[in-house]
């Protein structure tokens, strides 16, 4: 190939979202808004699993929340026809993530599993990724955090405790994914089976509103749910190509 052709091939390769021709896995989560009750079990499970700090009333009063998955609530209509909907919002692991392009030190990047990862010890805290994220799912450590003893005995040893000045966000419980892949390798299998790994939120959801899996596997639950006519992406118009699929809430009308 001549220079132009080589150049164009390289260009095309880097322009592809996710920058890989194929992902090893393409981890996807689906959230069925018709089943979500807004109970918040996912929020607490995530806090327990990922050593998320307890921010405290004062800092929450200053607006510094720290919930890798949060429940947003939206009202429609007025009394007596008011309706309340909940939508869990977490890192969408966008294949065309705006946050990945802007980090000056490449502390956030897209890995071979289709996950948007955050490298805590590379982050210098410019916070531009949080600005660029349209879903606002990135959270900054404004202070070092403290657990009143003996609460720190509960901390998960598989997950870092982040220091001040570092950005963090949902990782789809990458420590669980990593462990599942290790187990698969130990068992002599090459691939993780569908349903074998669940992030903490998916695992605990009492109404089974969330599913998680590899959309490359055509037989997986998530692949089937993506074909549901109710499936959509939030803020699809921003073209971020998220890996989280929501299923529309059914508002069956009464007369």
């Amino acid at each position: 190939m001549n220079f132009i052709d080589r150049f164009m091939a390289s260009w095309r390769k880097y322009r592809k979202p996710g920058y890989y021709e194929e992902f090893d896995y393409a981890w996807t989560m689906t959230i069925d808004l018709d089943r979500c009750t807004g109970c918040g079990a996912c929020v607490t499970a995530c806090q327990a699993e990922n050593n998320i700090p307890i921010v405290g009333e004062k800092e929450l009063g200053r607006g510094r929340e720290m919930q890798w998955i949060r429940i947003e609530r939206y009202w429609e209509g007025e009394y007596p026809n008011a309706k309340l909907s909940f939508i869990p919002m977490l890192c969408q692991h966008c294949d065309a993530a705006p946050c990945e392009t802007v980090c000056p030190v490449s502390a956030t990047y897209h890995n071979q599993d289709g996950l948007n990862t955050q490298i805590y010890n590379r982050c210098i805290g410019t916070r531009s990724c949080a600005v660029y994220c349209p879903y606002e799912v990135r959270y900054f450590n404004y202070y070092d955090h403290h657990w009143d003893a003996p609460l720190e005995q509960q901390l998960n040893p598989d997950v870092t405790v982040r220091e001040k000045g570092v950005m963090e966000k949902c990782t789809f419980c990458v420590q669980r994914i990593r462990q599942a892949k290790d187990h698969a390798k130990d068992d002599g299998r090459r691939r993780v089976k569908d349903g074998e790994v669940q992030p903490a939120c998916v695992q605990t959801c009492p109404s089974e509103a969330m599913t998680f899996g590899d959309r490359k596997d055509a037989n997986s639950v998530v692949a089937k749910k993506m074909n549901d006519p109710r499936a959509y992406h939030v803020l699809e118009e921003t073209n971020t190509l998220p890996s989280v699929v929501y299923l529309k809430k059914v508002s069956a009308n009464a007369d």
Binding site: D32, D34, G38, G40, Q47, R73, Q203
Partner: protein, 760 residues
């Protein structure tokens, strides 16, 4: 021209070096000292560092009794998950269950036996030893028993073998005064079941298989009976089956979490929900689908509940009443449940009888998707007959005031917090000479104790549980310790057994420990149920490994309703305290998943969990209809004073679109003045100002029967909210669709990258 000479050059270089050194020192001082991560260079034998050990147990955070699997690393509990094998929660767990870890590792746990050293309520205690404290208590109990004085035991609603131990213990003391006290115990529901179905027990409400749920105030997704199980059922009924999507209707004065999930939220005048139910019953009969032999009796009894008359009395449109009845009848099947506010009016029992009646009339009793009766629990006896209603608690207080109680033992229940001030319960305790507490935390009731014999956390204890309500077939699970005890505490069962030993009750309670007691009891289960295991030890291990045991035994009962019940079917108008002029609002105190009855307040995760409907953390608030707020000139965050005939509180206003204009709602759970650093001096407790009105026939406290006044204080105290704007403004974040899923429908053509699927 001059040059820079060597001396000048060196001076310049030296200056630069000092600067660099200073910068380096600054950087180093900002970093943190290295911490060691591996606690045990030479670990004990029970665990391998880096490999997790899972233990199955039973969650103790609320009475539902979900099964849990606890992940431990290096002897520490790290994460609680639901036990996938347990039929109640099937691997899922609610937020409060997840927070059980913070109950175990709470910084404010009581670490050892204590003796009161100051005034009761002053929280001044001195540490003592188990020998001394047990001896003191045993001595005192023996003296009371021998002197014919009254000994009372007030416990949380325990089940299983611990319940049996408490029974035998009190029996050995010659005392009839064993009371279980749970704030959220549905006394009226039990009474209603007794009246209509003839048994004082809770059936299983099969939400999973129902196609139409009519919930009268029951917050089944958040805290009613078994919320995780109901959520599972809800999810399945909605989108987990190939059948038509399940429809959920909620009837209550203020939208609860279940109301938000419902397809329809229908506000009915507070306390009139039972009248509405009878109106629906009337319509069902009028529709002609009920073919039972007692048709005429029912028709006669429900004469006065025509749609128009009921519409006037409840505020629900007649058209809606007719439609609901029709939809409920046509569903295959429909299910009606009642709880929450409906369980807490003066007419609660009548109301719940009416709700039960709906199930009866559509014939879903004993059928999937309907009301399924439970067999007797496997062991321990139904604990519900010991549950103390409000009248019983008032009697206890009265007895105390008259000096008739010599010793009161309190086990992990907090009536000082959950009973209204009007009951005078806390003051009455002053007249009891000796109060012993078995609590793990210094809650309001524990501060009144003279001796504290602190219990283990449920994660450190042996025990067993039969979930209530049952699932239509017998289920039992063993709760086992997942970590070594953190402190010098003991399991409740062990404390009781120890005292029993000291009081000479070895005959009826021969066991050395709770574990031995359990094994003995489960041996009987083993013998009776002929399982696969070849011997008891294998059976015991199998139950521990799987975390649950069950029997495939179902009851097939038909219900025959007594004619006298039919003739007397009626729902009285609800009674409220205070006159409507001076106290124009109905107070609606409600429980949440996170706080439950106040027990979640000392768990930082639960304080940080934003309330789902208002996103408020760390505080209390009062919800009010937008029109009411406008009329009173109140904005979000204005501090108002809420006063009943029995007290007043201050809380900030939150404007809430789904609450009736004459109703104001406040969350239960905050307002502690003890109970640890996360709970105390935070928010207000609406239960304090409730009027002591009880539900007729069940004697339970009618928490929604208090009228209040509301006045602006002129101050502002905006609560801390994590959420922002609550309208979507056309941005299609939550999207809606009219139709349900069509299995095998067309692809949604999502804007995802195409994934190359390898064919090898």
């Amino acid at each position: 021209m001059s040059n820079v000479d060597r001396r000048q050059f060196l001076k310049l270089v030296g200056a630069g070096g000092v600067g660099a050194g200073a910068g380096f020192m600054l950087a180093e001082s900002i970093k943190h000292p290295v911490e060691y991560l591996i606690p045990y260079p030479i670990p004990p034998e029970e665990f391998s560092p880096g490999i997790a050990t899972w233990y199955n147990s039973v969650c103790g955070m609320c009475p539902a009794g979900c099964g849990i699997s606890v992940r431990t690393r290096e002897g520490r509990a790290k994460k609680i998950e639901g036990n996938p094998l347990h039929p109640v929660n099937q691997g899922r767990l609610c937020a409060l269950g997840q927070a059980g870890l913070q109950s175990l590792y709470n910084p404010d746990r009581l670490t050892g036996p204590m003796l009161q050293s100051g005034e009761r309520g002053s929280e001044e205690f001195i540490q003592t030893t188990w020998e001394e404290s047990l001896a003191t208590v045993a001595h005192r109990l023996a003296a009371a028993r021998d002197g014919g004085k009254n000994i009372y035991l007030l416990s949380e609603g325990v089940r299983g073998h611990l319940a049996m131990l408490l029974e035998r213990f009190m029996g050995g003391l010659g005392s009839e005064h064993l009371m279980h006290y749970d704030f959220a115990h549905p006394h009226a529901l039990y009474a209603a079941n007794q009246r209509l179905f003839g048994e004082h027990a809770l059936p299983y409400y099969d939400i999973r298989n129902t196609r139409y749920l009519l919930s009268f105030g029951a917050d089944y997704l958040s805290n009613w009976l078994s919320p995780v199980h109901h959520s599972l059922g809800f999810g399945h009924s909605r989108q987990g089956t190939d059948l038509d999507r399940g429809r959920f209707v909620q009837i209550e004065a203020k939208m609860s979490l279940s109301g938000a999930a419902a397809d329809e939220w229908i506000p009915a005048r507070p306390g009139s929900e039972g009248i509405l139910a009878l109106g629906l019953a009337h319509q069902i009969l009028a529709g002609g689908s009920y073919t039972g032999s007692d048709f005429d009796d029912w028709n006669a009894a429900l004469e006065n509940y025509s749609a128009d008359s009921v519409a006037e009395r409840t505020g629900v449109a007649a058209k809606t009443i007719v439609r609901l009845a029709s939809e409920f009848t046509k569903a295959e099947p429909g299910l009606a449940i009642g709880g929450g506010a409906v369980d807490n009016h003066s007419n609660a029992v009548d109301t719940l009888v009416a709700v039960n009646l709906l199930n009866y009339l559509v014939g879903n009793i004993g059928k999937p998707g309907g009301v399924v009766f439970n067999s007797d629990p496997v062991v321990g006896g139904p604990a519900n007959n010991r549950q103390a209603n409000f009248i019983a608690m008032q009697q206890l207080a009265e007895q105390a005031r008259q000096g008739a109680i010599d010793v009161l033992i309190v086990n992990n229940t907090n009536p000082v917090f959950t009973l209204p001030h009007a009951s005078g319960f806390r003051e009455a305790l002053a007249s009891i000479p000796m109060i012993v507490s078995l609590s793990s935390f210094m809650d309001e009731t524990t501060t009144m104790a003279d001796v504290i014999l602190p219990s283990h956390s449920y994660l450190e204890s042996w025990g067993d549980d039969m979930p209530q309500p049952g699932l239509g077939f017998p289920v039992a699970a063993i709760s086992q310790p997942v970590v070594s005890p953190l402190y010098n505490t003991r399991a409740t069962g062990d404390i009781i057994l120890d005292l029993a030993g000291k009081l000479g009750m070895k005959d009826s309670m021969p066991w050395d420990s709770m574990e031995a007691c359990l094994k003995d009891g489960w041996r009987q289960i083993y013998e009776r149920s002929s399982p696969d295991a070849s011997d008891f030890d294998t059976f015991w291990r199998d139950v521990l490994v799987s975390g649950v045991w069950g029997e495939d035994i179902h009851r097939q009962d038909t219900v025959v309703v007594d004619k006298s019940v039919i003739d007397n079917i009626d729902v009285a108008e609800p009674e409220f305290s205070g006159d409507s002029e001076q106290y124009p609002f109905f107070l609606h105190p409600y429980m949440s998943t996170a706080m439950y009855d106040g027990r979640g307040a000392n768990l930082p995760w639960m304080q940080e969990l934003p309330d789902p409907m208002t996103s408020i953390v760390y505080g209390s608030w009062v919800e009010m209809n937008p029109a009411t707020a406008k009329r009173l000139g109140l904005l979000d965050g204005d501090l108002v004073s809420i006063a009943s005939e029995h007290g007043s509180l201050e809380a900030p206003v939150v404007i809430f679109p789904a609450i009736m204009p004459e109703v104001i709602a406040m969350p239960i759970g905050q307002g502690h003045n003890a109970f640890g650093r996360y709970a105390r001096d935070r928010g207000v407790n609406p239960l304090q100002i409730l009027a002591p009105i009880t539900a007729t026939s069940s004697g339970s406290l009618a928490t929604h029967a208090t009228r209040v006044s509301l006045t602006a204080t002129g101050r502002r105290a905006p609560p801390v909210q994590t959420g922002g704007e609550t309208r979507q403004l056309g941005r299609n974040i939550v999207q809606f669709t009219d139709a349900g899923s069509t299995p095998g429908g067309h692809s949604a053509n999502l804007n995802s990258i195409p994934i190359v699927v390898k064919t090898t």
